[in-house]
């Protein structure tokens, strides 16, 4: 009878769901061990081809050479929003299921998201000065992206400010969820308000506003390179947090003994 029960438990443990490698820490570590370098290699290859096409593209008749800045500015802006969406999703899973990996995923992507948002703001400003004649304008798009950056900083500050890590995780997760409301504001700001920032000219743009292929290709490849680089770095940072959690548990056990 006991053997039967143990056998049933083993079967239950073996009944894996398709996303098991994202919820089981041991299987996540096995998956990320090969996935992180793989995404890193893909990012390097895509980035090299993307940079080649960036400098092979002809000058734009209006933007001249500054058009090349679009191939690093727009991917950074796309990533700033996408990473926040991941941060919000992971925070929700962490709050609802209290899953350690979801919390690690949220914590790991926040600094990367902050860097991509800072890059979007700085490269946009460097492009705006020669094209718009100003470094900064308090228009809806730029202001809402600045608010996004402040949400990232707030999340990071909250996580490091509270000594109790569980309380810090819960408070930061709630803040991350509140910040989600900013994402549609950023996306549709150029449609809802009359902004200095131009509307979309990539995949979801009206046919007349869409970039020609000679500019769309370097943009697409650089965006995929940024996405792949983020995937790789995110996995590496989650792995670090899994090891950190185990190390702290062992240190606590050693201190108790």
């Amino acid at each position: 009878m006991r053997a039967f029960v143990e056998g049933s438990n083993q079967q239950a443990m073996d009944a894996r769901h398709p996303l098991d490698f994202l919820t089981n820490p041991e299987r996540f570590m096995a998956f990320s061990r090969w996935a992180a370098p793989m995404f890193g290699a893909i990012a390097a290859a895509l980035g090299l081809v993307g940079l080649f096409l960036t400098f092979a593209a002809p000058e734009d008749y209006q933007q001249h050479d500054t058009v090349r800045m679009m191939f690093i500015h727009v991917p950074a802006a796309v990533m700033s929003m996408l990473i926040y969406l991941f941060l919000g999703g992971a925070s929700l899973l962490s709050l609802v299921f209290r899953h350690a990996l979801a919390d690690a995923a949220a914590r790991a992507c926040a600094p990367l998201g902050a860097v991509f948002t800072a890059l979007a703001l700085i490269t946009g400003s460097l492009w705006g000065r020669p094209m718009w004649g100003t470094w900064w304008q308090w228009d809806a798009r730029m202001t809402s992206v600045l608010v996004l950056f402040l949400f990232y900083l707030g999340y990071l500050a909250l996580r490091s400010a509270l000594e109790d890590e569980q309380k810090a995780a819960r408070a930061a997760a709630i803040l991350a969820l509140v910040g989600l409301i900013n994402l549609p504001i950023i996306k549709f700001s150029v449609d809802w308000w009359n902004t200095l920032h131009q509307g979309s000219s990539t995949l979801f743009a009206q046919p007349g506003d869409r970039l020609p292929a000679v500019y769309l290709w370097p943009w697409a490849l650089m965006t995929l390179a940024y996405l792949s680089a983020f995937g790789s770095l995110w996995l590496v940072r989650i792995r670090a947090l899994v090891w950190r959690r185990k190390a702290r548990a062992l240190a606590l056990r050693a201190a108790e003994n």
């Binding site: 400098f55 500054t66 690093i72 600094p111 890059l119 000065r129 590496v236």
Partner: protein
């Protein structure tokens, strides 16, 4: 295919944008790897300590 690295009067805006992007990526890569290596080593050290403390005294 001709590669155009001469941005003319826009170089003063374009190259800082590419330079800062390169620095940001370098920081993200180095910081992520340093964090991972640090905690992996710390865990290995603590595991070795834990194993040693469980071994029966001679």
């Amino acid at each position: 295919m001709h590669l155009d690295f001469d941005a003319g009067k826009y170089a003063v805006y374009m190259w800082p944008a590419f330079g800062l992007t390169a620095i940001a990526f370098a920081w993200m890569i180095v910081d992520s790897l340093v964090q991972a290596r640090r905690w992996k080593r710390e865990l290995e050290r603590l595991q070795a300590q834990d194993t040693a403390s469980r071994e029966p005294q001679a």
